[in-house]
Symmetry: C2
Subunit: 324 residues, 2 copies
């Protein structure tokens, strides 16, 4: 989306939100810092305008990002009857909020705020910009367009979204705009270092143990360009870690010198494996993900495989080998 098109879409969505009395925000399931941060920032801004606004969720908030919920989130699907506007945040497909789909569709008007390459306009008002490093960048524009003054709370939610989705400003999605927004957020008094500490310096011992167990299963193939590792249900039991504590391991695999594509297979049930893919410089992993009904970006994508872990490993060895 070109800059002016994004501006136009944002202005249009702002108009829709201004006219609403009640707004519900829908981050995707398995929330990350960008989904929850963007939804929290928008919720705070809408409340500052006197609207009834809630972030409606259907799964638990991961511990490291729980600080972003400052009274915005609710699991009560009946909290507002006949909402004026429903906004899906950091996702653009109803299957990313399956149990909230009916509620989302009950909105008199619907808005999508997202930055995923794979998202196509699917509701009345779509602010989709795959060039944005994070949905939080678009949420930031939207809040400015609403005429709401940024404050520390909104600023920190936006900052958390950007920090998470850029991997601390290091991924190729980071732009001059990303840094200019970050600089502007300092003016609202955000505790940027404090947010980084909460997100990145808050690792449980269980997570460290799980990470080292997963690393023990590492295999490298495709002439050193592919790395794969698994998280089994036994590893979770042995270490006492929670499944989401495997987050970050796939990036560590990708960080190995010479490795271009990394994959982490997470055994959820005996016959259900979650696949996380990351690439470093040139391989686009999105088509592989989409072929299996998943989504994501060129450098980070994911999907599920309904098969036992061993079969999933063999499938990935072949699929990843074919990427080169």
């Amino acid at each position: 989306m070109m800059e002016s098109m994004r501006d136009k879409a944002v202005a249009e969505a702002a108009k829709v939100l201004e006219q609403a009395r009640s707004v519900l925000l829908f981050p995707h399931v398995t929330m990350d810092g960008d989904a929850l941060g963007s939804a929290a920032a928008l919720c705070a801004a809408l409340r500052k305008l006197g609207k009834t606004a809630h972030v409606v969720i259907e799964d638990e908030i991961p511990e490291t990002i729980a600080f972003l919920d400052r009274g915005y989130c609710t699991g009560d699907l009946g909290i507002v009857e006949s909402p004026d506007v429903c906004v899906c945040v950091d996702c653009g497909e109803a299957h990313r909020f399956p149990r909230r789909k009916a509620l989302f569709e009950s909105g008199a008007t619907r808005v999508c705020v997202d930055h995923h390459e794979s998202t196509k306009p699917f509701v009345e008002h779509n602010c989709i910009d795959a060039k944005a490093s994070a949905t939080a960048e678009i949420a930031y524009d939207l809040i400015l367009a609403l005429g709401v003054e940024m404050d520390r709370e909104i600023g920190e939610a936006i900052y958390a979204g950007i920090l998470t989705d850029t991997g601390r400003f290091q991924y190729s999605n980071t732009s001059k705009t990303t840094h200019l927004i970050a600089a502007a957020l300092y003016d609202c008094g955000i505790d940027a270092a404090g947010i980084a500490i909460r997100l990145y310096q808050n690792v449980s011992r269980e997570k460290l143990l799980l990470g080292s167990r997963i690393m023990g299963s590492m295999e490298i193939f495709a002439e050193g360009r592919a790395a794969m590792a698994c998280m089994t249900r036994d590893m979770l039991k042995d270490t006492g870690a929670r499944p989401e504590e495997a987050d970050g391991v796939v990036e560590e695999l990708r960080n190995i010198r010479g490795v271009e594509v990394a994959c982490l297979l997470k055994e959820r049930d005996p016959g259900l494996v979650k696949v996380s893919l990351r690439s470093k410089r040139y391989v686009d992993v999105l088509p592989l993900s989409e072929r299996h009904g998943g989504g994501g970006h060129a450098r980070a994508a994911g999907y599920s495989l309904r098969m036992p872990l061993d079969e999933a490993k063999e499938t990935l060895r072949q699929d990843m080998g074919a990427l080169f």
Copy 2:
């Protein structure tokens, strides 16, 4: 140092450099991205002005930052006789470039460009600003003051310095200015993501193995607020890793939930242990480091202990315990 004092010091140093024909730059030993990045950026800028300029070094450049040396570095202490200006970069004490001390002092004029809290003005012209996130921020100002147009090569060296010393914009030294400089660097066409990949996604398998061995020696004490681990010479032999590949492990220790101060002890010789200290939020580790003849910052400091490893461990248990 106040902004205007820094500006004044930078303007004065720029004048000195403008008048020089030959300039030698001295990054500290055990170069990091900020020391080498700042020196490389200044060297490139001075060469654009037609000066004879070299970065004089006395130890090997660590592999992950070697890409920053685009023909600037030399180990030849006789490369320029009677240099007009000698600039120490990212350090402010001659013992941080021991074998180059005489050469540094042979400069007709000497300049210090540094951001370390512990650095006191010690030469004719001192651009020292402990508020700068990285020496590269001051180098950036100095290059602008010299009237040199930023190009991609200079921009990438500055960016590498900032990225390294802010831990990817996450430490509390990061400021609005840091992000504004980063944004401006995008205008010179820097490949920011490429630099992050070289610095952070370029981990050898040996380093991963060493990291997991070091983690195995971890102990947590002081009611969970202190974490300590050791790198022995045996671990290096067993894994085939180089000593500098332990970089980053002390940050991983600090990242454990509840841990405020982390320490990594690196056995260099049977009777020589290098101590790296990191803190998270509130403990100032610099006084402890200075008491042992070391230096650094409030959140990151280091020194050497001339004693066997076991004795060093016991010393640190006591010293770290006393920090709370």
